[in-house]
């Protein structure tokens, strides 16, 4: 019973952080499950993927209502994301747990740096004023009241980044938002708010592609996945309300430090050294 409550608590915190900073939450949930609750890495990844679907679904609702999601761009990028996630999911289910833990720890360090440094750089992406083209879009900015229009640039490079993001997502059981958002902003020149909203919608289908492989192989353990999913769903609802009250830069810095500490523990655990 206590373990179930702890699993739900991990999901709750992951859901709050995930929805507040625009990630799926898997990057926080999976190391917590493996390091502190001794959940096997494959079960943790499967639970993480299902949790990402819950975060993405609840997070996308608000973005869709505000007209921030670019549906045309979403289906284009999703095509390569799911292909990458499927191959990643199949490879991940076969990989040795030590190798998987080490890869996860390495990717987490990258995410920690992205959270600490990258997001401020991303906020200054250029916004276009010419014709939006076939894939471009627009939305009404809540603060200025102005209509922000943008054109999608360098689609092939963006799709290539999407394929890599999908692969990492399926392999490690994370949503991949930490890669798709920078790819859309820096490569495709999509404004940050539209990129985060579109990425939030895409995370669900990307995680689904990976989760399907785990589910079909019987690796989704309901005793782990269900409490985490219920916790994440409540957490995502709380996080979306808190997001407007907490400064994003402070939150990103706190999360970066936490992720860095978890990544070091994850790599040490893969090397057989347990630090708690």
């Amino acid at each position: 019973m206590l373990e179930t409550v702890l699993l739900a608590a991990v999901g709750l915190v992951g859901g709050i952080f995930g929805s507040m900073v625009g990630l799926g939450g898997g990057i926080f949930i999976i190391p917590c499950l493996t390091l502190f609750l001794d959940v096997p890495i494959h079960s943790a990844i499967a639970a993480g993927l299902v949790a990402v679907i819950a975060t993405s679904t609840s997070g996308s609702v608000a973005y869709l209502r505000r007209g921030l999601v670019n549906l045309r761009l979403a289906v284009c990028v999703e095509t390569v994301l799911v292909a990458g996630a499927l191959t990643g999911g199949l490879v991940g289910a076969m990989l040795d747990k030590t190798v998987l833990s080490a890869i996860f720890g390495g990717v987490m360090i990258g995410v920690a740096f992205y959270m600490a440094l990258g997001r401020s750089v991303l906020a200054h992406a250029h916004v276009d004023r010419e014709s939006v083209g076939l894939l471009g879009g627009g939305y009404q900015d809540a603060h200025s009241g102005q209509v922000v229009r943008y054109r999608v640039r360098r689609l092939p490079f963006g799709l290539l980044a999407g394929l890599v993001a999908g692969n990492i997502s399926g392999l490690l059981g994370v949503g991949g938002g930490f890669m798709t958002v920078p790819a859309m902003v820096l490569i495709m020149k999509v404004p940050m708010r539209a990129a985060a909203a579109t990425s939030s919608l895409m995370l669900g289908v990307t995680a689904c592609a990976g989760a399907v492989a785990y589910f079909a192989r019987g690796l989704v353990d309901p005793t782990v996945a269900v409490p985490v999913v219920l916790g994440v769903t409540v957490g995502a609802l709380i996080g979306s309300r808190l997001a407007v009250r907490v400064r994003q830069s402070v939150l990103a810095a706190v999360l970066a430090v936490m992720l860095f500490a978890l990544s070091v523990q994850m790599i040490l655990a893969a090397a057989g050294i347990r630090v708690r």
Binding site: G136, V212, A216, R217, L219
Partner: protein, 123 residues
């Protein structure tokens, strides 16, 4: 509703709101099934038999009112929500004759279907 940009269609905003309602309904349905399963576990209906079950075993488990059936069905419904969303986009793009985007949506569904087949064969 006036389109925000030139490639928006007149029904864009209402379609996005409808899509949001679909996501809410799917998530609510999944959470309800999971909570039913958790309640059954609390009352001792199938607590010992909790494990990852096959889809074929679900009707039997649900018929017997066992927790595992509701929990697995809840997880499956959650997995189905993004798939259903892509189905809706496929239909919407086809209705608007935006064939390139309809094809992308179809490709996503084909890859997901491949995932199910390959995953089950590997198992």
């Amino acid at each position: 509703m006036t389109p925000t940009v030139e490639n928006d269609l007149p029904d864009q905003a209402s379609f996005e709101r409808w899509l949001a309602r679909l996501l809410v309904a799917g998530l609510a349905c999944a959470v309800l099934l999971l909570l039913t399963g958790v309640t059954l576990v609390a009352f001792g209906r199938g607590h010992d038999g909790l494990h990852a079950t096959s889809v074929g075993a679900l009707p039997g488990l649900l018929g017997r009112g066992e927790a595992a059936g509701f929990l697995d069905l809840g997880l499956l419904v959650l997995l189905a929500v993004p798939v259903l969303r892509v189905f809706c986009l496929l239909a919407a793009f086809a209705r608007r004759r935006e064939w390139w985007f309809a094809l992308c949506s179809l490709l996503i569904l084909l890859v997901l279907a491949t995932g199910v087949v390959v995953g089950m064969k590997t198992w």
